[in-house]
Symmetry: C2
Subunit: 245 residues, 2 copies
DNA sequence: TCGCCCCCGATTGTATAAAATTCAGTCTGT
DNA sequence: ACAGACTGAATTTTATACAATCGGGGGCGA
């Protein structure tokens, strides 16, 4: 209680979840490490009750494992896990974009299309980068909201916090040079919107899948060291390999 | 504290989640109703601490909504919601069965195939029904475990509790006649296994999709009254309809 | 009738204690 | 020396009491 609590009453748990998640994704804890309640409570200057609830929520999104009477242990986190997160996101959003075809008014689609087309040919600077990110969020949220399935939208939203935090952790890492050559995201968005306009669910899903898969590798490359990635890939080769070679 | 606590220390929250979920799925609470902490604590004979955590977990699986400073309110639950749950399950498990092709040893597949084939032509009685359910669980779990993605397996497992509880609620409703003519589940299982044997991911996914979609309608028919279903369908027509008719 | 304010109930967070469980180290009997 | 039981500290889990805060509803006045 030293400094004034700047956060709202009733939002402690959510803030804790975000804070702990960021710390975890920055790699400050080792996989398999136990997260002690009082330790976390002290570190984030709250009592243990909201910490426990935050851990329950973190266990719900599969970041920690809650072992009965033994507390929370951190699940492993590496390139492989980021890939898996993106895999689930791809599955969910592809289905959403399939469902959303025919559910968005043509004039909205035209508006989106012109926005993305304009941004695709605009000059690439910091402002462009920010604008691109904003429109990316808007497109994904629109698709989730209008897909017709409340639960599917919920599940997509559940992954948003994972994604946001990954993006934040990424920015911490590569605060250095912003090479806007990163990718032509807007062209990918455009492909999605045009497929929706054409009312072609499979084409839209394919465009969405491509869009998400493309971003994964860049994300991993920024988040981890090359040696980490190589080590992970070796491990993947051993554990993920098919039995019938 | 009247009777001795028969449940283990450290498993209160999980039991609470299951218990509350069952009560909710039995329709004993109205959608939008607030779930008061002390009320639940008294009803299930525990203190409020584990109840709070259970509500966080229930919010994590999208059954209740946690409104800041206002507590938990029950989300709506009807045929539509059951369909959406099954939709997500289908998405997840179809992807899993796609990935699992080529990851299961041929001898295991042969064993499964013979088991399902045998069960498909066996006499249908109570024993048959139980055996069929067991093998259903085994098949789905095998696919989730071996799909190569720890997170995908986790998400599938997360939906298992929803499914189990739905099945339990179903049994409460139609404790009357067991008409084993319900369906030829084993034939559907057989189709999945054979597609895996053939190493055809898309065929396997299609078989899985068919298997899950088939079970949905029977589940809904048993869980709700015809008038409820009709009312829900009317509502769906209004809210889910595409904009471009 | 409409808007404002205050009060009440409920949730949220804090603090503390007791009970249960894990785990590591020690002790004992053979 | 070693296997197995025992002990005790550390930690989680549950219970309980209490302060702080938020939201809604009722009363009050214009």
């Amino acid at each position: 209680m030293a400094s004034g609590n700047d956060i709202q009453h009733g939002a402690r748990r959510q803030k804790l979840v975000a804070d702990i998640l960021l710390v975890l994704f920055e790699g400050k804890f080792a996989p398999g490490q136990r997260l002690r309640l009082e330790h976390l409570a002290e570190q984030f200057e709250v009592s243990v009750t909201p910490v426990r609830e935050a851990l329950v929520e973190l266990a719900g999104i599969g970041v920690v494992e809650l072992q009965p009477n033994r507390g929370a242990v951190l699940r492993s986190f590496g390139p492989r896990q980021v890939e898996e997160i993106c895999q689930v996101r791809r599955i969910l959003e592809c289905e959403a974009v399939r469902s959303v075809c025919g559910r968005i008014a043509p004039f909205e689609l035209e508006l989106l299309e012109s926005q993305f087309a304009e941004l695709d040919t605009a000059k690439r600077n910091k402002r462009w980068s920010q604008k691109t990110r904003e429109q990316d969020s808007q497109l994904h949220e629109l698709i989730a909201e209008r897909c017709g399935s409340e639960r599917l939208a919920y599940e997509i939203g559940r992954y948003k916090i994972l994604f946001r935090t990954l993006r934040d952790a990424r920015h911490m890492r590569r605060s250095s040079r912003d090479n806007y050559a990163e990718m032509n995201e807007n062209a990918e968005h455009l492909a999605i919107v045009r497929a929706m306009s054409a009312g072609d669910p499979e084409k839209a899903a394919a465009a969405m899948a491509y869009h998400i898969e493309t971003s994964v590798q860049a994300l991993i490359a920024d988040l981890f060291d090359p040696q980490e990635i190589a080590a992970d890939r070796r491990e993947s080769f051993l554990t993920r390999q098919a039995v019938s070679s």
